[in-house]
């Protein structure tokens, strides 16, 4: 026991009634707290309970273009040179304009691969034979 304990009467926590003011419903408390907090700049941290509703009905919304299923579902992520990327974009845009339909970058890559395969199978003159034949 400290000197200060001996100097004075012990503390006690017995209160008859501290007074709570007029009883209020929970929504009423929340409304008043909201108003007081807004006025005093003490802001809510709770996420907004209601998201603003769109005024557009389903009928108002423009009809969306039917999505074309391309069958391309496998992800492919790699780093390429900026100029290669620009080339793929340019070829895609040109093909889209020329063919009057969306030609994706994936399709440009596929066409490039096809062209590469074709070039490989095409018979090219074997210039080394010329040298051998003398």
């Amino acid at each position: 026991m400290t000197a200060s304990d001996n100097d004075r009467a012990k503390l006690n926590l017995n209160f008859d009634d501290l007074g709570e003011g007029t009883p209020m419903s929970r929504p009423e408390i929340e409304q008043r707290v909201q108003q007081i907090s807004d006025e005093a700049g003490f802001h809510s941290r709770a996420p907004s309970a209601t998201f603003p509703k769109s005024e557009l009905t389903l009928a108002d919304q423009p009809k969306r273009r039917t999505r074309i299923k391309t069958g391309r579902t496998y992800p492919f992520n790699t780093k390429i040179k900026p100029e290669t990327y620009e080339l793929i974009c340019r070829l895609s845009d040109e093909a889209t304009e020329r063919e009057q339909r969306p030609v994706s970058m994936a399709e440009i890559i596929e066409r490039s691969l096809d062209a590469l395969k074709e070039a490989k199978h095409r018979k090219l003159p074997n210039f080394s034979l010329l040298n051998e034949g003398g």
Binding site: T2, A3, S4, D5, R8, K10, L11, N12, L13, N14, F15, D16, D17, L18, G19, E20, G21, T22, M24, R26, I29, R32, V33, Q34, Q35, I36, S37, E39, A40, G41, F42, H43, S44, R45, A46
Partner: protein, 233 residues
Amino acid sequence: MSKTPVIAFVSPKGGVGKTTAALTLASELIHQTGERISIIDADPNYPFKRWAVLGRKPHKLDIICDDSEETILDNIERAKQSTKAVLIDLEGTKNMRVTYAVSKADLVIIPVQGSILDANEAAEAIKLVKRTEKGFGRTIDYVILFIRLPAALLTRNFLDISNQLKDAQIQVLDAQLIEREAFKTMFSTGRCLHDLSESQVSGLVKAKADAANYAHAILNRLRRRHTQSTQAA
């Protein structure tokens, strides 16, 4: 009819000593009354949760970790049912959970160090209390607590702030908490003030005397208000 005092520690500024003031008061109340006390930890950093994790919390002290402004009213009500005093340690920002706590408080303690920055933030807290009083039609007592004052001498800043508060007729608690190692050691050891020993920290006797004066001043204030409200009725 409320018999359980609810004491909220409020300041929109962080680091002014709300948590230290709350734990010091809880320590003293448990030591002197032997009653069960609760602290509602309404700071998202949960300083009391971290303190309690050290495993030396007295069994008479309940720590209630509050989640948000949506849970604080229920936590206050539950704590009032199960303990003899409810202390609420709030975050040092201007958020709506503070208004909820103030709306249920019998006494709001606003800690201020000897700095004009703290005093400015204290003014914001006082405005909130006054608005809440008006909005809820009930008297909510509030008082400034000077905390972490240097032991050696009173600084000119402190005297300036003290005089300004006096001029503005803002009440200051007639007990102060001096900057003492013992108050910090409560947090590093996970103990209450009266569970510390002289071997753990120096100046413990003075810290205990400060804590006793502080707790007496708080309860005297509550009791005065209790008497006034009884007379008014």
